[in-house]
């Protein structure tokens, strides 16, 4: 039986309120102790984590790995390497794959691809409606039985509220979590940038905050009506944070995440017409960014996701509005989280919780912590190591990141998934 000891690292395990220097003992793919050496433990492998932080492996609530119909953008093979290098040990695949995750067969296919890529912890989010078209319910129970961890409609809005209501009722009947990115189709008006001074100056079709907040408010009402558990994904603006805060105070069982780039970039950071900044929801204002940060600090928003969307070069070459939205963002997840800590927006413990314990709670997983008996999903990172985002260091097939060429601080040195070292720097 493979036994691993991780030595001398600063162990931060928010779920168990641990923050101290010590050793982590792993055996048979499970954590067996984070305190004393268990009797009869004989390490086959010792990882020296001196000067580094040892924490639960990260859980990403919104990821695209492309592949299948989009393998020219990225493949499971390329992206699981990126995920491992990012310290991510569990990820949620959004249903807008090609083909859409709306039948058990597609779920099975993804499981096979995940096994083949040597990265078993890919959870699928099943489509809420067939083909994500927002007109007919998907076979949610079959999807759940096939292994879907939640249902959602990815970036496709459900335009008809009656159908959304029915879908939420049906999901609630099977105790399924709905992941929802609030986004009103009509108000969004095919925009590609935040409705603000920058879009006005550059004549870009724009999306008002209300496209998000109105859809959010409607969904909150339906959550109360239907009793469906809802997790709101990739919030982008101040008024969304306020609405979630009020809903939680009122007693609704909802949770929310934010994509990591929304916590750092605003419309003003966009180099005009640089498609690397084309992302949905769009980059908004400084005020929105500050509110999102406060939302994290005050636990209104409890998770940070990568919203990883790798693209091929062609997808980003063109006039801004015709380029495809999305940022390749797995590998910048940790350094951008650490930047929030460095800027005193959140504490390190909060940051790690937002990437592990909290998303685990959203998904009701027995992971995201270094609790003895839990699967040994561990991330070890050097919080002080600088590295440049360049083709030498970058693993994802998608190089579509506005941070390309920049030097960021904090790098994952080891990633363990079920006790296997899947990444070593």
């Amino acid at each position: 039986m493979n036994q691993i000891r991780i030595d001398h690292g600063r162990i931060i395990d928010p779920a168990n309120k641990i923050d101290r220097i010590g050793c982590v003992y792993i055996s048979g793919g499970k954590i067996i102790s984070v305190t004393d050496e268990p009797a009869g433990f004989k390490a086959d492998t010792v990882i020296d984590a001196g000067g580094q932080i040892v924490c639960p492996g990260f859980i990403d609530l919104s990821t695209r790995l492309r592949d299948m119909g989009h393998s020219r953008k990225a493949t499971f093979k390329s992206e699981v390497i990126a995920a491992a290098a990012a310290g991510v040990t569990t990820l949620c695949l959004q249903p807008d794959t090609v083909p859409v995750i709306d039948t058990p067969a597609v779920v099975e296919l993804i499981k096979e691809l995940a096994e083949k890529a040597g990265y078993p912890r890919i959870y699928t989010v099943g489509a809420l409606t067939q083909k994500l078209e927002g007109t007919e319910l998907s076979a949610m129970l079959s999807l759940k039985q096939a292994g879907c961890i939640a249902v959602g409609n990815a970036n496709q809005p459900v335009r008809n509220l009656l159908i959304l209501r029915r879908a939420m009722e049906y999901a609630a009947s099977h105790d399924l979590l709905m992941m929802f990115r609030p986004n009103d189709f009509w108000l969004g008006n095919n925009g590609c940038a935040h409705e603000g001074a920058v879009a006005t100056r550059y004549g870009l079709p724009s999306i008002p905050e209300a496209a998000e907040t109105i859809a959010l408010a409607q969904c909150l009402e339906l959550a109360e009506l239907t009793g469906c558990r809802v997790h709101f994904g990739q919030l982008s603006c101040k008024r969304s944070v306020i609405k979630i805060h009020q809903a939680k105070k009122y007693g609704l069982k909802v949770s929310a995440d934010v994509a990591v780039h929304q916590l750092h970039l605003t419309e003003n950071d966009m180099t005009p017409f640089d498609s690397a900044y084309h992302v949905l929801p769009p980059l908004r204002t400084e005020d929105d960014k500050q509110y999102l940060r406060q939302g994290l600090a005050g636990s209104t928003i409890n998770s940070i996701c990568s919203d990883h969307q790798p693209h091929d070069l062609d997808a980003k070459l063109g006039a801004f509005p015709e380029t495809e939205p999305g940022i390749s963002s797995l590998e910048t997840l940790l350094p951008l989280m650490l930047k929030l800590v460095a800027q005193h927006a959140i504490t390190l413990e909060q940051g790690i919780a937002c990437l592990s314990a909290n998303p685990a709670r959203v998904l009701r997983l027995n992971s995201g912590a270094l609790t003895p008996g839990f699967s040994a999903d561990v991330c070890i990172f050097d919080p002080k190591r600088d590295w440049q985002i360049n083709s030498e260091n970058w693993k994802s097939q998608g190089i579509n990141t506005p941070f390309w060429g920049q030097t960021l601080t904090g790098r994952v040195t080891h990633t363990l998934q079920e006790g296997m070292v899947i990444h070593r720097l």
Partner: protein
């Protein structure tokens, strides 16, 4: 990784490099591309106007040509239909003795960037020197300028709702001809500001040249969010908004604005925002009326005003040639010496040799 190998084998300029407005200027700070008014200073805009003035006589000569761009090939790359802009660009290029190729590439807004890039690559290999680009999407001219071979200049003939800088410069030229100086001018721009690339460029040009006030007059549905951030004051009422105005710039109203619920009807629009003799009386008595064309008579402007004594609409069209000649010659760096200061240099120096 094969993808990265592929990336490194791409032509040097095919990179996801940051765009920037210094893209328009070369290392000496001279015009290289003309994509937007933004980022160009007052001196440069004045230089364009002065150079245009020196070309203004060329069209009236018996031989309407100067040899500044002889041997150069200019491609009019029109992804969106246009008659007058393309024609004036073509005339301007011909009068500078360039060879001109017109390409009308009808494309839908959903066409992929690859084809745009492929078109550029193909034309590049035919040794062209300049692209004049019109495209339905904002940022298209920037994209082409960023991707194209370093010796090629790109002139933006209108991109989406972003910019139409040559139209703005010919309007500045027309205003300066009549009003001489910008510093005391109050200019009103009326109509569909939201969708107008002309309006955006006019506002930037007027502010750069130091106009006293730029006022936009439109219903809220036709104004972009935070429009004041462009450096304008706002009015929703034409009769009140025209008070003290020296220059009235009308914008064309597209028919599709009615079907997308931005306006109830043409007649209601005309009632509120159509320029009539009656409403024009509110402006200064010597106010001029401009329109980038094509005009919708009876929708945004009454025929009596469009053809009236205060209208300079046709003068705008003829000025388009001289201004576009100036911009093309400047971007190709073929002017004999820095004009600007002595406005007469290029025309006398060059027409004389013909």
């Amino acid at each position: 990784m094969t993808y990265k190998a592929e990336l490194s084998s791409l032509p040097a300029q095919t990179k996801l490099m940051p765009f920037g407005y210094n893209l328009q200027l070369n290392a000496e700070g001279k015009l290289k591309h003309f994509l937007t008014i933004e980022g160009l200073d007052r001196n440069l805009l004045t230089e364009i106007l002065d150079t245009a003035e020196s070309f203004a006589g060329v069209s009236e000569h018996q031989v309407k040509k100067v040899p500044l761009l002889r041997g150069k090939t200019i491609v009019n790359l029109f992804f969106e239909n246009s008659t007058r802009t393309r024609t004036t660009f073509e005339l301007a290029a011909t009068r500078l003795s360039a060879d001109v190729i017109n390409m009308n590439i009808a494309t839908s807004a959903t066409s992929k960037g690859e084809s745009l890039l492929d078109t550029i690559r193909n034309l590049e290999s035919m040794f062209v020197d300049m692209f004049v680009v019109r495209h339905a999407l904002s940022g298209a001219a920037h994209f082409i300028a960023q991707q194209t071979a370093p010796h090629i200049s790109v002139i933006n003939a209108g991109d989406g709702q972003h910019a139409h800088p040559t139209q703005a410069m010919l309007d500045m030229f027309t205003i300066r001809q009549i009003k001489k100086d910008f510093s005391n001018l109050r200019v009103a721009i009326i109509g569909d500001i939201l969708h107008s690339r002309v309006a955006r460029s006019e506002i930037q040009a007027l502010n750069t040249l130091g106009a006293a006030e730029v006022r936009v007059i439109a219903p809220k549905t036709l104004l972009p969010a935070h429009v004041e951030s462009l450096g304008v004051s706002v009015s929703h009422n034409l009769s009140e908004g025209l008070k003290d105005i020296d220059v009235v710039m009308m914008l064309r109203l597209q028919k599709e604005r009615m079907s997308s619920a931005l306006l109830p009807s043409e007649s209601e629009y005309f009632k509120c925002f159509g320029l009539t003799e009656e409403k024009l009386k509110v402006a200064k008595p010597d106010a001029i009326v401009m329109h980038p064309g094509p005009i919708n008579r009876g929708v945004e402007i009454d025929s009596k005003v469009a053809d009236g004594p205060q209208s300079v609409i046709l003068r705008q069209v003829s000025n388009g040639i001289a201004v576009r000649m100036a911009i093309m010659a400047m971007a190709m760096q073929t002017l004999p010496s820095a004009p600007g200061k002595s406005a007469s240099t290029p025309s006398t120096a060059n027409t004389g040799t013909m």
